[in-house]
C-alpha cells in the first residue's frame, strides 16, 4: 500500500528537496514532537466537533440537553470555542510552525524532551480549562473563558514549546530569512504578549469598566490576526511556491503586507466596538485601521492569486494545494467582510448577529484550519517517512471540509444579515426574528455534522498511518536484532 501509484506526490515522503539528506534528518528529529502535537490537535478537533454539533443543535432546538447545567448552551458553546482554539488550533499551529521553521532555517531539533513536557502541560491546561468551563468556572470573557487556574499553566507550556522554533531558527544553517519565517517568528513573540496582558487586565486584576472591552477586542482580534493568520500565511508562503515549483509572484511586496498587516491589523480589532460604550475616538481609529486592511488584502491577492494564475490545473494533483486554494479564497472573504463591517451602516445591521459568527468560522475554519489540513497532508508523510494510509479518506476530508465550511459560513452569514435587518426593524417582534433564523441554524447544524465527518476521516487516516509507521519500525527493529546483531551495537 505504501507504493500506491494513485497517491499524489506530496502524500508520499519522496521529495525533491535541494538538500534531501538534510531534510530527512530534520524531519526525523521532529518525528516524536510532531506526532504528539498533531495527535493531540486531532483529538481536540474531534472533541470540539462534537461540542459544536450539540451547541449548534441547541440553537434551533432549545430543549436539547437543557436539563443539566453542565450541558446548557451557555457552557457548551464556550467549551467548544476554547477546545477548538486552544486544543486544535494551538497544537496544530505549534506543529506546523515548528516544522516550517526547522525546514526553512535548515536546523534540526536538538532534543524533544522539553518540548514533549510542554505539550503535556499544554494539553493538561486545555483539559483543565475546558473542563472548568463545563463545571461552571467560566470567566465569561469570549475566547478567554478558561478559568484562572488553567491559564498560567498554558503560558508556561507555551514557552516550553514555542522556544524550540526559535532554537531551530537561530541554530539553523540558512542565512536567508524567508517570508514564512517572518510570520512564524513574529507570531511566536506576539502571542505571549497578547495573552498575558489579557489575562492580567481582564482576569487577575481587572481594569475599570469598559477599558476591559477595549483590551478584550484588542486581544481577540489580534489572536486571530497576529497568531492564527500569521501561522497560516507562513504555511501558504511556503507551500505555494514549493508545490508549484515557481517563485511567489510579486514577492517584493510581501514584506510590505507583513508590516502593514501587523501595524494596522493590530489596531483594527477595536472596530467591533463601534456603537459601544467606549470613547468615540477608539471606534473611529478602529474603523480607520480596518479600512487599511485593504492594502494587505490587495498584496496578498497579488502574491497568492498571481502565483496560482495559469497553474490552476496543479490543484488536481495536489491535495495540499487544494486545501490552500480554498483557504486563500476564505482569507480574501474574511478581510473583505472585516473592512465592510467597519462601515457604520453595515455594523448597525451585522453587529450582534450570526453574521459575526460566520466571520469567525470563516477565519478559524475556512482559512486557518484549511491551511493546516493541507500542510499536515504534506508534513506527516515526510516526518513519519511513510505514505498516508488511505487516499479515499483524504478526498472525503477535503470535500467534507470544503462543503461544510461553505454551508456553515453561508447559512450563518445569510441568516445573520436577515436577522440583523429584522432586528433593526422594530415592527418585527423579537420572537419572529428568532423564528426566521431557525432554517439557517438548522443548516449550520447540518454543516457541522458534515465537517465532523471530514474530521473523522482525517483522524482515522492519521492514526492509521501512525499505526503502520510504528509497525514498520517494530519490524525493522526485529530484523535488526535477529539478522544483524553486530549492526545493533
Amino acid at each position: 500500500m505504501a507504493t500506491d501509484s494513485s497517491l499524489t506526490p506530496e502524500l508520499t515522503p519522496e521529495s525533491s528537496s535541494s538538500h534531501p539528506a538534510e531534510a530527512a534528518a530534520i524531519d526525523a528529529s521532529l518525528r516524536t514532537s510532531l506526532v504528539v502535537l498533531t495527535g493531540s490537535a486531532l483529538v481536540w478537533l474531534l472533541i470540539a466537533g462534537v461540542l459544536a454539533i450539540v451547541s449548534a443543535w441547541q440553537l434551533h432546538t432549545p430543549a436539547f440537553l437543557d436539563a443539566c447545567e453542565f450541558t446548557t448552551h451557555g457552557r457548551l458553546q464556550p467549551a467548544q470555542s476554547n477546545a477548538f482554539i486552544y486544543g486544535w488550533g494551538f497544537n496544530a499551529a505549534f506543529a506546523v510552525s515548528l516544522w516550517l521553521m526547522a525546514r526553512l532555517s535548515r536546523g534540526a531539533l536538538p532534543g524533544s524532551g522539553v518540548l514533549l513536557l510542554g505539550a503535556v502541560f499544554w494539553n493538561v491546561g486545555v483539559t483543565l480549562g475546558v473542563g472548568g468551563i463545563i463545571l461552571g468556572f467560566s470567566t465569561s470573557i469570549e475566547w478567554l473563558e478558561m478559568p484562572g487556574f488553567a491559564t498560567p499553566l498554558l503560558l508556561v507550556a507555551y514557552a516550553l514549546i514555542a522556544a524550540w522554533s526559535l532554537v531551530v531558527f537561530r541554530a539553523g544553517r540558512s542565512h536567508q530569512i524567508y517570508a514564512s519565517q517572518w510570520y512564524v517568528f513574529a507570531a511566536i513573540f506576539w502571542f505571549p504578549w497578547l495573552y498575558s496582558i489579557a489575562q492580567v487586565m481582564l482576569v487577575f486584576s481587572p481594569v475599570r469598566g469598559t477599558v476591559q472591552s477595549v483590551v478584550h477586542a484588542w486581544f481577540s482580534t489580534n489572536l486571530f490576526l497576529l497568531w492564527f493568520a500569521s501561522i497560516a500565511l507562513a504555511a501558504i508562503y511556503y507551500f505555494l511556491p514549493k508545490l508549484l515549483v515557481k517563485p511567489v509572484s510579486n514577492y517584493y511586496l510581501a514584506s510590505l503586507s507583513f508590516w502593514w498587516l501587523a501595524i494596522f491589523g493590530s489596531w483594527a480589532g477595536i472596530s467591533r466596538l463601534i456603537g459601544g460604550p467606549v470613547p468615540a475616538w477608539v471606534q473611529t481609529v478602529g474603523a480607520a485601521a480596518s479600512f487599511m486592511l485593504v492594502v494587505p488584502l490587495f498584496i496578498l491577492g497579488l502574491n497568492f492569486y498571481g502565483t496560482l494564475s495559469g497553474r490552476w490545473s496543479a490543484l488536481k494533483d495536489s491535495v495540499t494545494l487544494r486545501f490552500i486554494a480554498v483557504a486563500i479564497v476564505a482569507l480574501s472573504l474574511v478581510l473583505l467582510a472585516w473592512v465592510a463591517s467597519a462601515l457604520h451602516g453595515v455594523a448597525a445591521i451585522t453587529q450582534f448577529t450570526y453574521f459575526t459568527a460566520a466571520q469567525v468560522q470563516l477565519g478559524l475554519y475556512g482559512f486557518f484550519s484549511m491551511v493546516v489540513f493541507g500542510s499536515l497532508y504534506y508534513i506527516v508523510p515526510r516526518v513519519l517517512n511513510t505514505a498516508w494510509a488511505s487516499t479515499p479518506l483524504v478526498g472525503v476530508h477535503f470535500w467534507a471540509s470544503t462543503l461544510g465550511v461553505a454551508l456553515l459560513v453561508g447559512a450563518l452569514a445569510i441568516g445573520g444579515i436577515q436577522q440583523g435587518l429584522q432586528l433593526a426593524d422594530p415592527s418585527v417582534a423579537f420572537a419572529d426574528v428568532t423564528k426566521a433564523t431557525q432554517p439557517y441554524l438548522l443548516a449550520a447544524s447540518v454543516a457541522w455534522v458534515i465537517l465532523v465527518i471530514g474530521q473523522l476521516a482525517f483522524a482515522l487516516n492519521f492514526f492509521w498511518t501512525i499505526g503502520r509507521a510504528s509497525a514498520d519500525c517494530v519490524r525493522s527493529a526485529k530484523t535488526l536484532l535477529t539478522v544483524q546483531p553486530e549492526a545493533a551495537k
Binding site: P62, A63, D66, A67, E69, T72, H73, Q77, I133, G136, F137, S138, T139, S140, E142, E145, F169, R170, H175, Q176, I177, F185, A186, F189, W190, W193, L194, I197, M201, P206, V207, R208, G209, T210, V211, Q212, V214, W218, N222, L226, S255, I263, S266, W267, G275, G276, P277, V278, P279, V282, V285, A348, I349, T356, A357, P426, S427, A431, T434, K435
Partner: protein, 233 residues
C-alpha cells in the same frame, strides 16, 4: 529583512505601538474614570450591586448567559435599540460610566436573545413590571409565560421539596400538567434566587451629564435641520 535582530525589533515595536496606543492610553485616560456624585440625591452613581445580586452575577457568568445576551444599549439611530420607533430596550444609550463598578464587563457579542442591560426597567409582554415570580416561572420553563420563547429551560436552578407547614412564598404556581405531586412544591435554589435578584437589578435609568444633550440623527435622511435633542432624564 535578512537580519534577525532587526526583524525582532520591528516585531516588538509593532505590537508595542498598538499596545501603548490602545490598551495603555485607554487605561490611563478613562481607566481612572470616577463615579458621578449626585448631590441632590446624596449618592454616587452607578451604585454598587446589592450582595445577593452580585452573587447572581456570578451565576450569570458561570452559566454563560453572555453567549446569547448582550448588555449594551446602542444609541438612537444605530440599530433600533432605543428611540421613538424602536424595541425600547433602554431609556438611553449605555455609556462607559454605567460599567464602572463592574468587576467583569459583560457587553456580549450575540443577540440570540434580547439585550438585558436595562431589563428590569422594561415591561413583560403582558405590559406589567418584571417580578421575581415572573422570572422564576420564565427560568423554570420559558414557555410557561412566553409561548414563543426560544430560550432553554433552567429547571436545574429549582428544586422540588416537601411542603412543611406553610407553603414557601417563593414556590412556583404551576398548572396541573407541570405541578409536582401533592404535598410537594417547586422552589428556586439559592443560585436561582441570586440570578433573579441580579436580573432585577439590571436598570440603567439614571441620567448622567454625558447622557443628556446627546446628538440624535435627524428623523428623515432628507431632513435639512439637524437639531440637538434633550436626552431622557
Amino acid at each position: 529583512m535578512n537580519r534577525a535582530p532587526i526583524l525582532f525589533l520591528g516585531v516588538f515595536c509593532v505590537l508595542a505601538f498598538s499596545f501603548v496606543g490602545l490598551v495603555l492610553t485607554n487605561q490611563l485616560t478613562y481607566g481612572a474614570f470616577t463615579t458621578h456624585v449626585d448631590e441632590d440625591e446624596g449618592k454616587a452613581f452607578p451604585q454598587q450591586l446589592p450582595g445577593i445580586a452580585a452573587q447572581g452575577k456570578l451565576v450569570y457568568q458561570d452559566l454563560g448567559c453572555v453567549t446569547c445576551h448582550t448588555q449594551q444599549v446602542r444609541r438612537e439611530g444605530f440599530g433600533s435599540d432605543i428611540g421613538e420607533k424602536s424595541r425600547g430596550w433602554g431609556e438611553r444609550q449605555s455609556v462607559a460610566r454605567d460599567y464602572l463598578r463592574e468587576e467583569r464587563v459583560l457587553l456580549g457579542s450575540q443577540r440570540t436573545g434580547p439585550d438585558l442591560r436595562n431589563f428590569a426597567a422594561r415591561k413583560t409582554p403582558a405590559g406589567a413590571d418584571f417580578t421575581a415570580d415572573w422570572l422564576y416561572s420564565y427560568l423554570y420553563d420559558p414557555k410557561l409565560v412566553v409561548a414563543d420563547s426560544s430560550m432553554p429551560r433552567y429547571a436545574f436552578l429549582f428544586k422540588t421539596q416537601k411542603i412543611v407547614g406553610q407553603p414557601s412564598p417563593k414556590a412556583l404556581t404551576l398548572s396541573e400538567a407541570y405541578a409536582p405531586e401533592a404535598g410537594y412544591e417547586i422552589v428556586p435554589t439559592a443560585r436561582g434566587e441570586a440570578l433573579v435578584a441580579y436580573l432585577l437589578s439590571l436598570k440603567d435609568t439614571y441620567a448622567y451629564p454625558e447622557t443628556k444633550n446627546v446628538y440624535t440623527p435627524p428623523a428623515k435622511p432628507e431632513g435639512t435641520v439637524e437639531e440637538k435633542k434633550e436626552g431622557t432624564q
